[in-house]
Point group: C2
């Protein structure tokens, strides 16, 4: 993973994001320099190296994905009214709403400009996959916003939402690398399934850690989702499993303003406990994790070539569970 991270970071540093008009490009440069784990471009490079390594086109595709991902963060931060991203002010907070909208738009266009360089023989496949994925990410964001207003969200709907909002972009990152590596259609599709299922498992883990993490290692407040009545897998599963008394209590907890937030979190966790939600969630995570590994095992490639992908799964899924 270190090698792919270096490859990507070197390529990123060679790019010039500071053009004219500077009021438009400075925020883009700011956003791209904020860092982050660069998981998606690393997956793209790994997806390529699993097959025939084709460095330059892959780096361009990887950067397209990373810029697109950062564009979604810029616009999501507006929609969520988020003041902070990666410990720094968000673009709309630092530069204003209009700049955040327009520089986000330009980032998306810029992502497409990097796709120009994937090679004509791969362009249509990569472009089609990128478009489909980008549209799905928007659908996922809309569902996420819709769910905030709805009281009847089902678990399959929730899984569809996280699949679109998060998992498909991880999957597409891998698959784009595979396409540029001349993988067969089946291999590329298996790698996509691997990424999609890891993505879903990762998002479920995020829900899990909010309730059950070691606060110090987790890096954010335990119970934040509960305090905000966020419709996580845990809450939806609890509502689905609850007996009428538990259901009434849970509904009351998530619809009335608590006098004491810590007590509210404890009360919800206690219901989760009674309903074995911790174990339910672990099983669900494991099921997607297993599906992912199964898909990867379908690909005929030497184990040492698969190792970086298994390492990144361990990294993503090993967060204090």
């Amino acid at each position: 993973m270190k090698k792919q991270t270096e490859q990507f970071n070197n390529f990123l540093q060679q790019q010039n994001f500071l053009k004219e008009p500077k009021n438009l490009y400075t925020p883009i440069d700011y956003m791209m320099q904020l860092g982050g784990k660069r998981i998606r471009p690393i997956l793209c490079i790994m997806g390529n190296q699993l097959f025939e390594s084709n460095e330059h086109p892959t780096l361009n595709a990887a950067l397209a994905i990373e810029i697109f991902h950062n564009f979604t963060l810029v616009h999501d931060d507006i929609m969520d009214e988020a003041p902070i991203r990666r410990g720094q002010p968000t673009i709309q907070h630092k530069y204003g709403l209009n700049t955040a909208i327009l520089s986000g738009d330009l980032m998306m266009i810029w992502a497409y400009q990097y796709l120009e360089k994937v090679g004509t023989q791969y362009l249509l496949d990569v472009f089609t996959l990128f478009n489909k994925t980008a549209a799905q990410v928007c659908d996922g964001q809309q569902w996420d916003m819709d769910f905030e207003e709805r009281q009847d969200v089902t678990i399959p709907e929730y899984i569809t939402m996280i699949e679109h909002k998060t998992a498909v972009l991880l999957a597409a990152s891998l698959k784009m690398g595979a396409i540029i590596g001349n993988a067969t259609k089946e291999e590329a599709e298996d790698l996509y399934k691997f990424g999609k299922n890891i993505g879903i498992a990762f998002q479920l883990q995020d829900d899990y850690l909010d309730a059950y993490a070691n606060a110090e290692k987790f890096g954010k407040k335990v119970g934040g989702d509960i305090a905000q009545n966020k419709k996580t897998f845990l809450l939806l599963k609890a509502l689905a499993k609850a007996n009428p008394t538990q259901h009434t209590e849970l509904q009351k907890l998530i619809t009335t303003k608590p006098t004491n937030e810590t007590e509210k979190i404890q009360a919800v966790l206690s219901i989760y406990n009674d309903l074995d939600i911790k174990e339910e969630t672990r099983q669900q995570m494991k099921s997607y994790h297993d599906k992912a590994l199964k898909a990867l095992s379908n690909i005929q490639a030497p184990q040492e070539k698969k190792q970086p992908l298994l390492d990144i799964v361990d990294l993503l899924m090993g967060r204090d569970v």
Copy 2:
């Protein structure tokens, strides 16, 4: 023009914009049904028919451009806080800010999805042109916003702004049609120049009509730009030509709140009169108009094939000047 309009409208009506999640797609359908003159897709079709007619790929490219153009309107309306578009509520007014941002984003992605269908042999050229143009449109919008805050905008800067914000998309519409019609590089470039110069002339005419139109035919209030201190070609030219006394008076008029708006408009128009701004603007328009016709005349094609393009120029440039 009637034929090309029908071709495009028929194709547009075959599309289905109403998908799930409906909170995201309903606003897109609303926007695409609001109408407008469909100038850009019509230019794309005409650009194609000037060379080898290739209907289906051209219609897809034409729709990509029209969706992209409508995306820019959705996001521009947020930035301008505009309540009304084509006589109807704007998306952010009708559906809220977040929906306007996200449905705009999805419209851009959707535009790219239509580009998938231009044919593999044309894809890279069309895609590259589309990307470059889309980025320029964003640059133009940023300059336009920047100019509102600046008091030292020059005429070349202003021309660059309208070229990016408006003219290049008209030019690219024509050129995309030409590429799909197997035009030579030179022919496609001449058609691009034709469109770009018509676009600049058209935008200058817009400035001109604000001051000198027959109010009834123009359909909006004469002097609106003057009332808003908009940095039009007329104002910038007047500031550039003014003697010190006129300059001081003009500066005072555009920086202090008037007690009587009609009197302010009259005072500015009176300075324009003294400086012969009407004729200066007509000459500038004519110069770009001539450049456009010159570029078109460089293309070897039968006159009857060029006629639709000349007709649309007459329509665009014949507005009561």
